[in-house]
Symmetry: C2
């Protein structure tokens, strides 16, 4: 029987609860957003005992379906003040699902400053004092935890940033190689975990499998077909990873550069996919690593320095652009080092990259100075007030620096696709309940919406509201399944979702039911945000993007604001 | 003919405009809030060229009516993100009114980083380059400006904090002795002035008087009676200043102490009115100084150190409590020095006092350590990132420090009256369009609302919503008149207001008309805030005040939240 693990951090009680009937058809983001909307007061302080951190595998996690082992983590976000779901690869989701755990709910707050580890094995769940790990970065922590709990455990953890409850603190998730390189990075969920006094959630490898597949044959057939299709169509991602977007975005004039002052970077070839691939392969790194079990795309990587020493894992487009071109930094080794430290401290590279660019804008350090950027970031480790500032995200730092050009929506820092060129993406940033988030409705070139007969030109303001809305619905479904959206955020995937759910659970859901699931999740999230104090006034990009023509394209963001505000009405 | 001075900081043009008919019956806060709501896009960035800074004398300023020379300054607030009016004593309002200037509107933004002084004399208004004053604190600046523009000028200015566009930056106003001790302190209006590139607004002494009083005799009689009444009833304020509230609030258990952990301070007698008075009189200071022309109450003061050297002016209840008991600091000389530096840098002492207390809560420095508090504050002068943090107000600093007990409403730091004891005041903090503001509806012991037959017990939750609403209406009227609310925020004053306006302007307004004026101002302000993204979710105190019983009284804030949210519906 599937169960919920409810951990009260005030009383230190761990309860195993049967799954409420209303939860049975929910998973991943569907479940985290439902529980947050049911149990968390929308006006509570996100770091107070009233907030809850919800961890939930997707509905397809653990089933053997390709790319379905992403884990959803949800709470009220300290960064945005609204609801948050951030999903992450790694191995936890697979194991939780196989152990029959539908969700972990961390609630309350410890009476003192103590730190704990939550250890989940097949026969019990234990809450253990863990003060000896205080101040550990994720790399050291994961090593120590593996020494103690075994090499095969899955780890979710916070670094120094989460302990300090910084707004950009992430939750690290160990990847298939054991590195803490995957992060539920956005919205400060690491700060919520820190406020609960949880340094790590450790899940033993599931030795049995509690998932009962109703129609194994169909599931296997569908999975095999999907895997084959992905292997054939995602060869670029497999070879180069998400860095393949560097040249595309740069050529379109939509790659964030110099704090969004420009949309292309004159040294793009130093940070593009070819350079990354060359560095990785020539130095004995690995260009194609799966971030979670069952991933045939393998867009992650392992990056070594000039001397062949491990530098970081999972160097991706967002980090390369926001720590690179957007800071005027063109040295991939420096960018990799910035990425490593963010992973180690447990910090979102998107918001933190924006912070460094804002500091450059304000003259705290010069654009392009990677050495000083690294020193600035390393303040986090010292726990200094400066380090706290660096980890507080773009919105807060823009305020401290007295800037009026601050690339945030709902206080969350903007990803690397500039909305003036990627207008559908910009529409997603403006309207997603998550704040500026590229994964929430990823309108990149070639993507369509729910109506396969329609096509969209990404630089044309017309149609972008429809496209963004459809993609947000599709993504909500993917996130509820545990699916990485590289499965293809499109109508085909929604059809496939229905078939897979029916094969897995013996349900009889249709394409329309699946799409309605996505709509419902967004509705819960928007309702929560409304009660938390969000209005249409928050569904907009920063004014400078509507007014400042960006070189070299000369574009502004010109999607009709009225249409944006009425996306869901 | 009264006129509007409109200064475009992009084109550096100064226009003299006739007063629009719709402005004629407006003044002070009525005029600033009307112009902001008409001309400023509610969703603009407060530091962008779209925001405007409005400076307006009250309707009774310059007329000789006692206590009527406060100046209103309005804009969209960088601190709250909503509309802001902050009013201030000093000599500018009197002179602007006599020069026939109904409002100054500063709009746009300079193309470069240059600083300007706006100089207003009886025959012309000039915008002058003022880069030589960059980095000057208010004290040095005022001295230099007087050397250049003469001893009799009135000065509004920003210090380093405003130049850095910090969220807690104030606008200093020279008092009758020429010290920059009066501040339009709340909500970061100094940052807006800084973003406009205006270092100072200098107004020459009005040598003529353009105000035409319709019925001089009646006005003089009413003024004389009012002055007599005030002299008789405000003797305590005259002798001790607002510090007289220390013993009262402390005895009631509602004086913010140790970051609002306590409602009384064990060393209160070291910072109370008696000690203040003794220090001032024994050291050759002045206990009773008017902050503006025509003030018979004279609640301001001039404070010297042990060696008789000038230390600060206008040491008041809010500063004494928030820099004193709320930081565990009991040395009045240290508090005076903190006040001096805030005045010099141009920082709100309420938000900055809260910042220091939050830093103490987080362990950055210990409670009670005045020496380190001073050093911390002096970082502002250095322009370091730490200094920027100190000047960024309680809400931002609470986020940086990862705290969930942060005493702010609408991101504005809480004044020194603890809402758990002063429940009407707490209701004002929750509901005022200005954020947590004690002057917006000052429900202290003995105050009543619009119905003189009703009395209120300040520690009883019942009736506080009505009391706060009535006081907010009355205060909006006072602020529109240029009145300090020590004139008596009560129905009598509303009756007197009608008589004075009729005598001054030949109008025929009634008590009801005056009250409706107050209601209307609040409506404009709430409408602006709604368009800027505020909802009922923002009309609430921080959760900890509703849950944490405060020693020694054991009270929580228990005014019904539903009633609060429906105050104006």
């Amino acid at each position: 029987m599937p169960r919920i693990i409810r951990v009260n951090m005030q009383t230190l009680e761990v309860k195993h609860q049967p799954v409420d009937k209303s939860y049975l058809r929910l998973g991943g983001r569907g479940l985290t957003s439902w529980i947050v909307s049911q149990e968390v007061p929308p006006t509570c302080h996100p770091l107070s005992e009233k907030n809850k951190l919800i961890i939930a595998p997707g509905l397809l996690s653990g089933t053997g379906v390709p790319l379905s082992n992403k884990l959803s983590i949800g709470a009220k976000s300290p960064m945005t003040g609204g609801i948050k779901e951030s999903n992450v690869g790694g191995t936890t989701s697979f194991n939780l699902a196989r152990l029959g755990i539908k969700a972990i709910i961390l609630e309350g707050k410890p009476k003192d400053d103590a730190l704990y580890v939550l250890h989940i094995s097949s026969d019990k769940v234990s809450l253990l004092q863990a003060n000896e790990y205080r101040g550990c970065g994720n790399y050291e922590l994961h090593q120590k935890l593996r020494e103690r709990y075994g090499d095969r455990v899955s780890i979710l953890s916070i670094g120094q940033a989460g302990e300090m409850r910084l707004l950009a603190a992430s939750i690290a998730s160990s990847d298939v190689k054991g590195h803490p390189s995957r992060h539920a990075a956005r919205g400060g969920l690491g700060a919520v975990m820190g406020s609960k006094g949880i340094k790590a959630v450790i899940t033993d490898k599931a030795t049995s499998n509690q998932i009962e597949i109703k129609d194994k044959k169909t599931l296997q057939k569908l999975s095999k077909d999907l895997a084959q299709k992905l292997v054939q169509t995602k060869a670029g991602l497999t070879k180069y990873g998400t860095a393949q977007m560097v040249d595309t975005a740069n050529a379109l004039g939509g790659m964030a550069s110099y704090n969004f002052h420009r949309g292309s970077f004159e040294q793009a070839e130093l940070i593009n996919a070819e350079t990354l691939y060359r560095n990785i392969t020539q130095r004995g790194g690995e260009p194609s690593v799966p971030c979670m079990p069952g991933c045939v795309v393998r867009c992650s990587n392992l990056y070594r320095d000039k001397n062949g020493r491990y530098l970081t894992s999972s160097l991706e487009y967002e980090t390369i652009v926001l720590m690179g071109s957007n800071c005027g930094i063109s040295d991939l080794d420096v960018i990799a080092s910035l990425d490593y430290h963010c992973d180690d401290y447990g910090l979102d590279t998107i918001d933190t990259g924006n912070v460094i660019a804002l500091m450059m804008e304000a003259g705290v350090l010069p654009f392009g100075d990677g050495g000083r950027a690294l020193k600035l970031l390393q303040e986090v480790e010292k726990g200094s007030v400066m380090g706290r500032v660096v980890g507080s995200g773009a919105s807060v730092v823009g305020k401290i620096l007295g800037l009026d050009r601050v690339p945030v929506v709902k206080n969350q820092g903007m990803p690397a696709y500039d909305p003036r060129t990627f207008k559908g993406m910009g529409t997603t940033y403006a309207t997603s309940p998550m704040g500026a988030d590229h994964t929430a409705g990823p309108a990149i070139p070639g993507r369509g919406g729910l109506d396969p007969s329609k096509t969209y030109d990404l630089t044309d303001p017309r149609g972008q509201v429809e496209l963004s809305r459809d993609l947000q619905i599709i993504i909500a479904v993917c996130d509820a399944m545990g699916w990485c959206f590289f499965v293809g955020p499109d109508p085909n995937t929604m059809h496939l979702t229905a078939k897979l759910l029916n094969a897995c659970y013996g349900w009889q859901v249709s394409f329309e039911d699946v799409v309605e699931m996505g709509r419902r999740i967004l509705r819960w999230e928007r309702d929560f945000n409304r009660s938390a104090g969000f209005t249409k006034a928050h569904d907009r990009l920063p004014a400078f993007m509507l007014e400042e023509k960006q070189p070299p394209s000369g574009r502004i963001f010109d999607v009709d604001q009225n249409e944006i505000e009425n996306m869901f009405s």
